[in-house]
Each structure stands twice: as C-alpha cells, then as structure tokens.
Assembly symmetry: C2
Homo-oligomer: 277 residues x 2
C-alpha cells in the first residue's frame, strides 16, 4: 500500500460518515466487524479506545512486565486469559473481528493487514488492551483545545523516538509518541486534562522541540498522517500504545497480532471512569 | 505475639525517635537493616513507601496479572528480575534486609516474621514493590488533613473486606483497606489529594459506612492498630497493598515473602514523582 493509498483509506471513517462521533461503541464494533476499516479518531464520543496486542502465552509475562515498566506508553486496561477473545470492557465484543484493521507479525516482520484475524488466531494468544490517546481527545475538545487531525479528517501522526523503553526480558524497543499541534493559549489545559487520565497515557512526555525526541521531520510521521499546524502551534507529544508494536519489531517474537495504527478497539467504558478527579 | 505486645512494638519508631520524619530514606533503610523493626508511618517525609511481595518465578505472571487487574489495591511501582534484591527505586538497597520486618509464608500459612530474610531467600524469587498509602499522608498533611494514627503514635488500621478482587489464574482473595478518620471539613481535600496519586492507591474506595465493606467493628482491625476518632470524624477507606498478602493466604502459593503490615520499604522516590498534576 502506498503512502497516498494509506492516507486516503485512513480518512474513511470521518469522510464516509461524519456522524461517527455519535455511534454507540457496540454499533461501531459491528460496522468494523462487517468490514469498515478506517481509523477510529473521533468515533463514539466519550468512550474509551484501546490498543490491542496479542502474543503467545510464553511471551505474556514479558509483555505484561514491559507494560508495567513503561506505564506512560503502555497503560494496561485489560489482559485476557490465554485464547479468550472477550473482555469485560466490551459486552459481546470479539477481539478477533471487531477492530477496523489488524496487523499480523511473524518474527518482527509485518506479514498481513487483515480486517478479520480468525484465520490467524491461536489458542495460546494472550491479548492486552492498552490505553489510547484518542480517549482523551474528548476531554481536550470539552476544554476547548482544537484537535487538528480531526479537523483535517486525518489519522493522528505518530513517530518512533530515540528514547528506549525500559526492557523486560526478551522485550525491548523505542518509545512511540503521538503528536498534536496545540495553540499556546490552550497548552495549559491540554497538559492538565490529559494528566488527569493516566490510564490513557496521561500528560505529555514532551512539548515543543521534536529533535529532543529524535524526530527529524514532523511532516513525515512513521504512522498515521502528517497534520498541518496553524501559526504559533506548539507540537505536543504523548506516549503512544504503538510502542508495543515497536517492541514486537525490535524484539521479534515468533508471532503477534496487533491493531493497525489508529484503528483501535472501541470499549464500552466511559472516559470518566479513567479520570482520577 | 499478643495484640498488646504487637501494639507496643508497633509504636517503636515514633516513640523511640520522633525525628524519624526527617530521616533520609537511605538512613532509614540502614536502621532497619541494623534491626529497627517498627512501622514506617511518618518516616522519611515526602518519600515513597512500598509494599513488598516476593513469589517464585512460576507465580510471577499471575501475581503481576493480579496486580494489573486490581490496580487500586496493588499499583505496581517496580518488579525485579528473578533472584534480584535490588531496585532502581532505591540506590544501594537490599530488599532482603532493609525492611523493618518481614513475613514468610508457606502454602498460605505465616511461618515466620524475621527482620532479615537472607536465610529464606531463593534464587527464583520475583519481587513486587507495590504503592503504599503512607506515601500520600504527606500530601494529606500538607493539605491540612489530620492523620489520627500518626497523632496517636500508632500503625494505620487495616481491614479485610467482603469485596473480592478480580482473580488472576491461581491467585484470588479479598480486598484489604486502610482506614483514616477524617473530619468532615477535610473530606474534600482528602479525596482530591489522594486521587491525584493513583500510583499509591489513589482516592478512597469508600467513605462513611464500614458495613458497606463488610467491616463489623472498626475497633478490631485485622492488621495495625485501632485508632480513636474525634467527634464527627468520618471513616475513609483506601485500597491497601496488604491485599497481595490476603491473596497469598487465600491462594496458598508454596512460598512467599512479604513485608509485615505497616513496615514498608522506603524508596528514594519522591511522592511528587507519582502525582499526576
């Protein structure tokens, strides 16, 4: 898939149906189960979104430890028992089919991007649902902070940084961040509102200087779409759950399933449940 | 040890040396290494305290999953590699010797309460450091909230509740809570200040009615000391890291080491590091 195709496809949800913000989570999951494959930014207002990573059981302890040791990037919302595709976070959901698009990894290589993983499923898979920054965008909007990538109908831009995560056994890799351009007058609110939601990455890891994270060109994200800033906007970076995928690439477990970046799992949980005050 | 002996010994730190609040964490650890065995409430102002639980490696995944599934009771601050007794949270510390008192468990039975665990140590032990509510007492004090058990020179009272934790494999058990009597005019500050510290249990799980948690008599705590309320005080309950010990009792792993209730591990971390805003 070329970069242009990807970008066009990335906009599917917001361009095809601008009522997606009003969908109930179960309705969103059903549409994705039926094949809708676009990104989930702006879908099902106020409901918690999650990254998915499924690894064989003999890698589960190291994955859980990796998440525990890197809680800003990988805050764990739920862990399934081996082989299970259900979660208490979403009634009736099937983790094998209900995300818009998946990635299948063998020895750290991306081998497929299906919209349904039943042909790849294994009975020894332990699935991790990890908090996603799309969750806090509703809090940002409510506080008056503009969300440029939603305004522009794009997926959020994500970047692999030069910061290494704290390793856990065989698992290691760089931190991935998402970036939002924030007008200076909204910076305080953006930091405060996201800090109150530590289960979905919490406050920013950096504001202002992309090179401090080893990012050389904001116009060329590693995942998602480039976003146009307004004059005076400050780039603000939050740790991103795609960090777990970067650990798969770096650490090469024999098998892993993940969501495709920006195509998250919609839970029934309300964002308020994760707000500390 | 009788209840009276225990209570007398519990007061060791605060009665023997009321300058303990000013100790540096490394100085506190050295005193405990040398045999001081009292509780750590009020010791080393502003520094993060932690529960310790060490289990054999073949129980480590379930313990980490139990903590992940019960984050209010068991927020994980660090997990060691198997056999290691050091932690990045405390420079030069030895987890085998630097706590005031330990508990040794075999098949869920308490078999010893030593002040040094080197004779019990095993190369396959994975140690979990879990956030402790003593940490947030400095924030409470700074906000003007009186801490009755510190005023009264006692250990905090802890109670086994009727709420069951979410199990993880072989591990299950009830939630344990700590209780502080809070004057009504300070209740809002107590909730706000602790909610901003989710890594050390966060906000209360209940305020006001002990029976709502299955607690029948506040004067008879399951761990620690009874505390005298002032008129109008409201009992406020926070999830407690001793929950992990209750899981050991209920689930009977062949071996476990823990801290003794109220005798925590003093880290070098500052409480502010865990505050979300």
């Amino acid at each position: 898939m070329t970069r242009t195709d990807q970008a066009t496809e990335d906009r599917a949800v917001t361009l095809v149906d601008d009522r997606a913000h009003a969908w109930r989570p179960e309705a969103a999951r059903l549409r994705f189960r039926e094949g809708l494959s676009g990104p989930t930014a702006g879908v099902a207002a106020g409901h918690t979104q999650a990254n998915l990573i499924s690894v064989p059981a003999d890698w589960a302890y190291e994955m859980l430890l990796f998440c525990t040791r890197n809680p800003r990037a990988c805050p764990v919302l739920d862990v399934t028992d081996a082989g299970a595709w259900t979660t208490p976070l979403a009634d009736g959901a099937d983790l094998r089919t209900d995300l818009p698009r998946y990635r299948v990894w063998r020895h750290g290589e991306l081998v497929a991007e299906p919209t349904d993983t039943r042909a790849y499923w294994r009975d020894d898979l332990v699935s991790f649902l990890i908090g996603c920054s799309f969750t806090f965008e509703w809090a940002l909007s409510a506080a008056g902070v503009p969300i440029r990538h939603v305004e522009q109908g794009r997926n959020v831009p994500m970047y692999v940084t030069s910061r290494q995560c704290r390793p856990a056994g065989r698992l290691h890799g760089p931190m991935v961040v998402s970036m939002r351009q924030v007008p200076p007058r909204h910076l305080s609110a953006a930091i405060r509102e996201t800090s109150l939601l530590p289960a979905v990455h919490g406050g920013p890891v950096h504001c202002g200087v992309p090179s401090a994270l080893g990012i050389t060109d904001l116009a060329r994200p590693d995942f998602g779409d480039a976003v146009e800033p307004e004059p005076d906007d400050i780039p603000v970076f939050w740790a991103c759950g795609v960090t777990a995928q970067a650990a798969v690439v770096a650490s090469r477990p024999p098998f892993a399933l993940t969501h495709a970046p920006g195509r998250m799992f919609l839970t029934d949980a309300r964002d308020e449940q994760y707000r500390v005050v």
